[in-house]
Subunit: 609 residues, 2 copies
């Protein structure tokens, strides 16, 4: 028995007890020659220790340094100056004896919330970084989320069923990590990008409700905040329609809010079509914690109910930027009409950055005195400015920001600008949570680099029931041939849904194809030959011949879900041992060279270019 | 809404309700021309459907075949002939309308407990095999075990923390699966054989109590019932000694017994030293559901308290087999003195099989009439036989079986013979559970093929506290030089423990080394150079410099734990998608060839020999 209590446990009710504690030396404070206070830390909290040479000459705490691991025996004593900031703040331990269990060198950075260690150093010494309270609470939150999700899913009849990690490489989706097979020379396993086909097979097997919190792998070039291995809460249900799935999984997130953050999310979860999201927010995962929707003043692409997008208000005033633009989009930013020249110049610079890529930014100030001022005054009369502002729903005191250019880029820029202004105005609060379902995605989009249609979700997603006959009866090339916005999307809609939390996609899924004929049509539409479809997915096509039930599901990005709930946008902060942007674990120094013996056994060799 | 109720839900209290069910057609029974009974199956149970053309001429069930997926609407009706074998046996559904949701081809084998499908066929169509009740209950049991273990660990303060899958290849232990890194050409990740070093780092980080149910990977030639990927319940605790760990984890298994099998395991868990296990049972994972311990009549190796092993009773009678043997071991089999010549001949053949490898088997029958008869009567008087039988603890009516030969092989054969006799006598009951801790393992054993000492458990296992000075102060070669039994084991004992259930090792662990100096000594003892130790385990040695706490842990073999609790010895039956003995997934047909593009991107090529 190394301890009778943890460092977070003792209270004033324990005074006069003899206790044994063990933990890490957080701080050492000498009070004159004979008295030393030490804060002893473990996972559960901090307890103050009092070492006094007065008490015993052997109790010289001098050898104890930061991060030493010690065991002490002593008496719980009332503290003279209480510390209301910590639960053990009413007591301290008068130490009677101590043992150094392990020494510590001076850590390369301070084990404090605001550490002096840079990212690289903290990653190399991740085991010390993990001691910091700021990191520990993220790891604890991650566990709380998984525990809550598991409980909810269990109560709703889901079974955790494990699917294999050594599977088969598939031509669709992202790039696979592969694993050479020693027992089958020349052949390779692939690591799963998701358990998609397995969970569908489990539905064919009649397991009805499946879940798994599971690692997935994608060998993609790592953008910021992507990891080569990541975790999903992966779920699938049989005999369900879209509505059943939406209710089940918004229930899951609400339960997590309650269990983890003690938030009662009683609002109905908003729903929005993908088309509305693209037109009104400029992206498919809108942050709806704030308004400032995009007003389409003009668009080369028409849309029912978007008459304002014809450009009536702005065309023909001789302002070439608007006249020649494919698209003109306005955002009404509340309360910013008083922005100085310096502030508007800075915003103009912001949209001109390469990541945003606009040529410029047009302003209309809706002044509180009822006047309207603009950076394009010489082209538009005040009446015209007022008409534009009114159409954009701007209020007195708003600053109207307008971008123009090619459809796709402009829409993306407007979306970024909206998010940036939301951030600057403090409208994107980390502790406010707004869920949104985005629905009615296009089934296909066109991949220019591959010169073919690809599944926007994945090849197992069912079309909307009304679009199934179109898929079945038409040549896939014809069924996909319509173009939407600048980038080609199919007119055929997917029976798919994304869950968005505060502007982040935290989950996505679909009702699946469960009939062989339709699945074959889908593979053909993606340009897969019949032979290739059979080679790669023959087991799934086969399974659909033996009584596959209607089914659908959803996968949450577990890392991201935790990050957003934890009020962060960095998933790396919520992974115990993350990799860097080159896919390296700098603590382990992995990946690394392997031995010649390993190459020989695997019957492969390097072919460095 | 595809259904109002599941197929396992309706009872006589539901009579007259209008319901909608969906599921699979299990059986079709025609009763004359106009009436058809169908058993409709889903995960939750079976409900009988009554289709009658009398009721509606449209309700012709003729098109419905086995494994069709259908949805029906109808009225819950009282059954005339009730079926007490199923919970829904009091009712049936008078069908009013039905929809075929999906057809099914005739399955390649019957979806029944006693299927006509062979192993290969069932593996190829695993999604159909998983429908069988016999398999489904195994998968359900697996989930029940994981749920129970998670609850127990949660209540005891353990946190589920995920560790990475793409790590670094290590020279110790089994062969690694490796993963070429595209972003780091020429370098490879390894898949973890266990999260061992990560869980130790988490203890260094102060997480105090960690667990994970996690996949591990070993690229070993597959013996029966080994899988290249397997699951562990992996646990680690800080500030603990062996006793704390034993109590915590026998508590876990007892909780699983209670939750999953409703068994109150109130017996104290037996403990046995490795040496006792080897001497008295001939192996390190004794099945203690029955006695029949080995009696060592003679051994070339001495052991305190084993005076009978000197061979006094049997030597010098002129029976060369015993006189010349290194070891002679007897087993008293209760109630088998009446075995016929045919039966003893068959047993002799059994021990002569190559897997057992004995030259023969000697019998002494302890007849109920007080006489003793033996196959070696000409060498031993009846008095001598009686003396041997008495020394072996044989009772009247017992059959004494005696094997002799080289120490290691004979001991192993005696162990196998004991287990075989236990099985034949029905003493190894699948529904009886006996836990055992095996303790005090040797720290090292000698690997002849590698010509070096290897860690019997793993290189992170601490020696017994009393043996630590021996490790620190001696040259490792000297510290390891003693030989025990025929195979060399170190005299230094490990602070390690195995949990044994019904003769199967279900878990194992140890108190870990947590001081750099001792860890370096251990690596050196294993023949690792200082450079190699730093290259492969520098992160761990480094971590031990910054205040590593005393810690220890245990990992359960989750697949095996489930199998034993499920009354089976085959782990494959408890894995949803297992691989065969060549490491192949015959359903997916994996591993498989990959594209040239993949080779090019990974900068590797085949080097087939």
């Amino acid at each position: 028995m190394y301890r009778s209590h943890t460092c977070g446990e003792l209270r004033s009710g324990d005074i006069n007890k003899e206790v044994t504690l063990a933990g890490w030396v957080q701080t050492v404070r000498k009070l004159g020659a004979a008295i030393t206070f030490i804060d002893l830390r473990d996972r559960y909290g901090i307890t103050q220790l009092l070492f006094g040479e007065e008490l015993s000459p052997l109790l010289d705490a001098t050898p104890l340094g930061r991060e030493y691991v010690i065991q002490i025996k002593g008496i719980v004593t009332e503290r003279t100056s209480k510390n209301a900031n910590i639960p053990t703040g009413d007591i301290e331990i008068t130490v009677q004896s101590f043992t150094i269990l392990n020494k510590s060198a001076v850590p390369p950075f301070t084990i404090t919330d605001e550490t002096d260690g840079g990212e690289d150093l903290r990653m190399k010494f991740r085991y010390l970084d993990l001691r910091r309270n700021a990191v520990k609470k993220n790891i604890e939150l991650r566990y709380a989320v998984s525990r809550s999700a598991r409980n909810y899913l269990h109560e709703n009849g889901f079974m955790d069923i494990e699917t294999p990690f050594l599977i088969k490489s598939s031509p669709e989706g992202a790039r696979d990590f592969v694993v050479p097979s020693r027992m089958n020379p020349g052949q390779f396993y692939a690591l799963p990008q998701s358990p998609q086909t397995f969970k569908q097979l489990l539905m064919v097997s009649g397991y009805d409700r499946y879940y798994q919190i599971v690692k997935c792998f994608r060998d993609e070039d790592l953008r910021a905040d992507r990891q080569p291995e990541f975790a999903q809460i992966d779920c699938e249900m049989s005999f369900v329609e879209q509505e059943d799935i939406l209710q089940m999984f918004e229930g899951l997130v609400k339960r997590v809010f309650k269990d983890v953050k003690n938030i009662d999310y009683s609002d109905a979860v908003q729903r929005m079509s993908w088309e509305d999201a693209m037109w009104n927010y400029g992206n498919d995962k809108p942050d709806i914690r704030f308004g400032m929707q995009l007003l389409n003043l003009k668009s080369a692409f028409t849309r029912a109910g978007n008459l304002e997008a014809t450009g009536e208000l702005i065309n023909g005033a001789g302002f070439g930027v608007f006249d020649n633009a494919e698209t003109v989009i306005a955002i009404a930013v509340p309360g910013c009409a008083e922005y100085s020249r310096k502030q508007t110049d800075e915003l103009t610079d912001w949209v001109k950055r390469p990541q945003i890529g606009m040529q410029g930014l047009v302003f209309i100030k809706c002044n509180p005195d009822g006047t309207f001022k603009s950076s394009v005054d010489k082209f538009y009369s005040e009446d015209k400015l007022k008409a534009i502002a009114t159409a954009a729903g701007a209020q007195s005191g708003d600053l109207l920001l307008i971008v123009a250019g090619r459809e796709e880029r402009t829409r993306k820029a407007a979306s970024e600008l909206r998010l940036e202004m939301g951030k600057r105005l403090g409208l994107r609060k980390a502790d406010e949570f707004k869920l949104l379902w985005v629905l009615d995605f296009p089934l296909f989009e066109y991949a220019e680099e591959e010169n073919r249609w690809v599944a926007r979700h994945h090849p197992f997603t069912s079309p909307k029931p009304s679009d199934i006959p179109v898929m079945i009866n038409n040549d896939p090339a014809i069924a996909n041939a319509e173009k939407y916005l600048e980038h080609p999307y199919s007119n055929i809609k997917a029976n798919a849904y994304d869950m968005v939390l505060n502007g982040n996609e935290i989950g996505g899924g679909s009702i699946r194809i469960f009939q062989r004929e339709l699945q074959e049509k889908m593979f053909a539409a993606l340009g897969m030959s019949n032979e290739e479809a059979l080679d790669k997915f023959g087991f799934l096509l086969g399974a659909f011949e033996y009584g596959a039930p209607p089914h659908g599901g959803l996968a949450f990005g577990f890392d991201r879900l935790c990050a957003i709930i934890g009020g962060s946008e960095s998933i790396r902060d919520f992974i115990a041992f993350p990799k860097n942007n080159s896919g390296r674990d700098v603590m382990l120094d992995a990946p690394a060279a392997i031995d010649q013996k390993q190459f020989d056994e695997l019957q492969i060799k390097l072919n460095l270019q």
